[in-house]
């Protein structure tokens, strides 16, 4: 498998490590924003454990640790392993991004 890192170009699978589904978002909350603890726990449970596990195109996190150390967000078909697109995480590089960029 080869992954086209937007920075480095196409590279061998061995240079990357995989994290998984990029759909789940880490719930945002502030400690004393009075959010319901049960709901919060459920939101985190969803974020940490539940997956769509799609058979088809999936947005997922890859880390180019064996290269430029950028986190990437790829679209890949889990049935064919074909990559549709590869983007960089908002915080790779130095450009200023708003919170919750992902």
């Amino acid at each position: 498998m080869r992954i086209a890192c937007p920075f480095c170009g196409e590279r061998e699978l061995g240079e990357f490590s995989y994290l998984g589904d990029a759909a789940p978002r880490r719930p945002h909350y502030a400690v004393d924003d009075g959010s319901d603890p049960v709901k919060l726990a459920e939101a985190f449970h969803d974020y940490v454990y539940l997956r769509d596990n799609v058979a088809g195109t999936m947005r997922e996190y890859w880390y180019h640790g064996g290269g430029c150390r950028s986190w990437l967000i790829a679209e890949r078909d889990t049935r064919t392993h074909e990559f549709k697109s590869v983007q960089v995480a908002p915080g790779a590089g130095a450009s200023v991004t708003s919170p919750a960029g992902e």
Binding site: M1, D46, L50
Partner: protein, 416 residues
């Protein structure tokens, strides 16, 4: 038709024209008390135990392809009960006990071969971890031995004792572990279930669920709708897709695991040897092929095939620990779709949907679980309460924090 050397000899006289189908090929009925989705080891075992133990015989097993076309027909056939954590220990030992009487139960030779399994260790830390595991097994009445370097050398003289990177310091042995003929397990359960009246329906893919006010009342299939009192999923790698038809999101990811077999050679390996530190495990099939594997490829996949880095990683492990296999040729390589749960431990439970049951999350360890999974899942479906040996395989354990994580990797399926 009972199988035995005598019936075989008798059949020989008539050129084996006397044999009949091992299982019928029925058309689906309009309704069953229980429908099991998935004609793998688990699905068929569940149907068998429903009929044998719980007297529920109006059962159909629906298989989208041919029975055993999933992981049951793809696995490296290792059976063992060397688990450590509460919840796992008892369950896998129950399974081992069922393996030990399988041929007689099924009247089918599934070649359960208890030639033993040895996990090698290479550091004090690893030894301590194995000691912890082994003592947990022993306290639960399961056989385990901690072997030192000298004992390993005696049993496995062909290993690489010169490897400075992974000095072989010893191993954890379970003598009752071993292998079984995976396809035969599928066929044996199919035949036995069939004899008890279960309909095994191949080339019948479930494409949706029928519900009336929330409760499952049947399934849509490529061979038309079929009514059911209860429906149990046993679809392994396809769990999330089938569950999604009922609107469920699960703590499961599908990953590809590869395995390999070499050309057949004369007997070389006594039992199963695992080299965890090097992502390599190996055994020899009765046909003579070395059957080996290692870690997952590491990314979500439904492709049933893997890539070279994983092949290389496994073979490197093999050459590090067992350099005598260097000239043996790798004959075939394949991949199966693992239903990896988020804590590496299976789920046998009711779902939030009334009448729909879940059996999934077997990761790369579900073949050894086949008999116990069938029995405990049948119990759950028949009695609507978990079998005591599977009482911790609950769906809500992730919300409660009661995960069972043998590897301590957390919610990272590709690392389990």
């Amino acid at each position: 038709m009972k199988y035995s050397i005598f019936s075989l000899a008798r059949a020989a006289l008539t050129g084996h024209r006397g044999w009949t189908r091992a299982w019928r090929d029925p058309a689906p009925k309009s309704r069953y008390d229980v429908i099991i989705i998935g004609g793998g080891g688990h699905g068929l075992a569940t149907a068998y135990f429903l009929a044998r133990e719980y007297g529920i015989r109006n059962v159909a097993v629906l298989e989208k392809g041919w029975i055993g076309s999933g992981n049951a027909g793809r696995n490296t056939t290792i059976i063992r009960s060397n688990y450590m954590l509460p919840g796992n220990v008892g369950f896998y030992e129950l399974s081992m006990k069922l393996w030990e009487r399988m041929e007689q139960d099924l009247n089918y030779n599934t070649m359960v071969s208890q030639r033993g399994i040895i996990n090698l260790y290479h550091s004090d830390a690893q030894r301590d971890a194995f000691a912890r595991r082994g003592n947990s097994m022993r306290i639960n009445g399961i056989d385990a031995e901690l072997l030192d370097a000298a004992q390993i050398r005696k049993e496995l003289p062909f290993l690489n004792y010169a490897n400075p990177r992974f000095p072989i310091m010893g191993g954890l042995a379970q003598r009752r572990g071993g292998t079984a003929r995976h396809d035969a397990v599928v066929w044996g359960y199919a035949r036995a279930a069939n004899d008890l009246g279960v309909d095994i329906i191949q080339n019948c893919e479930v494409t949706g669920f029928q519900r009336t006010d929330g409760r499952i009342t049947g399934v849509e299939t490529t061979r038309g709708p079929i009514g059911a009192g209860k429906v149990g999923m046993a679809v392994a790698g396809n769990t999330s897709r089938v569950a999604a038809m009922a609107g469920l999101r699960l703590p499961v990811e599908s990953h590809v695991l590869q395995a390999f077999v070499t050309e057949a050679i004369k007997p070389l390996l006594p039992g199963v040897v695992t080299f965890g530190a090097g992502h390599f495990y190996i055994s020899q099939s009765d046909k003579g092929g070395l059957v080996f594997g290692g870690d997952l490829d590491g990314y979500n996949s439904y492709a049933q095939r893997g890539n070279m880095p994983a092949m290389e990683d496994v073979c490197e492990g093999g050459m590090a620990i067992m350099p005598m296999i260097g000239r043996v040729r790798l004959l075939r390589q394949w991949g199966g779709i693992m239903d990896m749960s988020m804590d590496g431990t299976p789920i046998i439970d009711k779902t939030p949907v009334d009448g729909l049951y879940l059996n999934a999350g077997w990761c790369y360890g579900g073949f050894k679980a086949t008999p116990a999974s069938g029995l405990t899942y049948a119990h759950l479906i028949a009695r609507d309460e978990p079998h005591h040996e599977a009482s911790r395989f609950r769906l809500d354990r992730f919300l409660r924090g009661a995960t069972i994580d043998e590897k301590g990797q957390g919610a990272q399926p590709n690392l389990h």
